[in-house]
Symmetry: C2
Subunit: 124 residues, 2 copies
């Protein structure tokens, strides 16, 4: 079964089942994996906040699981989802990988913004 | 720039530039990232072997970098590559994600094998 690493985590690549685009990579612990299986919506473990995170909980842009694949070494997952609200990225882009790294190590934005984060996330 | 984690690593999703398939996820440290940039072929850091790993070194199935993308939080990479030899997986499949997880947590192979690992990797 799933081989969690020394920190109890596996990386999960999330792919848009409609477009085939890579939306994001995040980590799951055992609980996040079980919640994802039970609810049919992606849950992750936030290493910076040290807690479970239900993707889209605040923005409404949840991800419905279509299929889950496991790699050869059984230490990572690839999950195909139906992305609600089009944008998976909290910066308002379809994918979190909206910037290309150029030869001089600067970044070039290669995608169009779908929403303005200021309209979606309330600041406290 | 790239925010390496407490272990000095970032996950990198490798995508076949021709087919758009997710081939694998592996980790890079600063050195692996620099080698990837300098040589134009993917290099990773193996957590189990604790050393740099030039993908395809033994099998010849190297990955030529086409484009590198960085995520919103600047703590992961998505790299589009030209995969030599078709199979990215050391088990002989195009992608490492050749198995789907079924509702009862068993695995179903969903891809065809391109090579037999016994023919490619010499055992010592």
């Amino acid at each position: 079964m799933l081989n969690f690493d020394s920190q109890g985590l596996v990386p999960a690549v999330i792919v848009d089942d409609t477009t085939g685009d890579v939306l994001l990579v995040a980590f799951m612990n055992q609980e996040a994996y079980q919640l994802t299986r039970q609810t049919g919506q992606t849950h992750f473990f936030s290493r910076s906040r040290n807690k479970i995170w239900h993707k889209g909980e605040q923005s409404g842009n949840v991800q419905e699981v279509r299929d889950i694949f496991i790699n050869c070494e059984e230490n990572s997952l690839m999950i195909r989802v139906q992305q609600h609200g089009e944008a998976a990225c909290h910066e308002g882009y379809h994918s979190c990988y909206y910037r290309r790294i150029l030869p001089d190590e600067s970044f070039e934005v290669v995608a169009e913004r779908i929403f303005d984060p200021a309209d979606v996330y309330e600041t406290e």
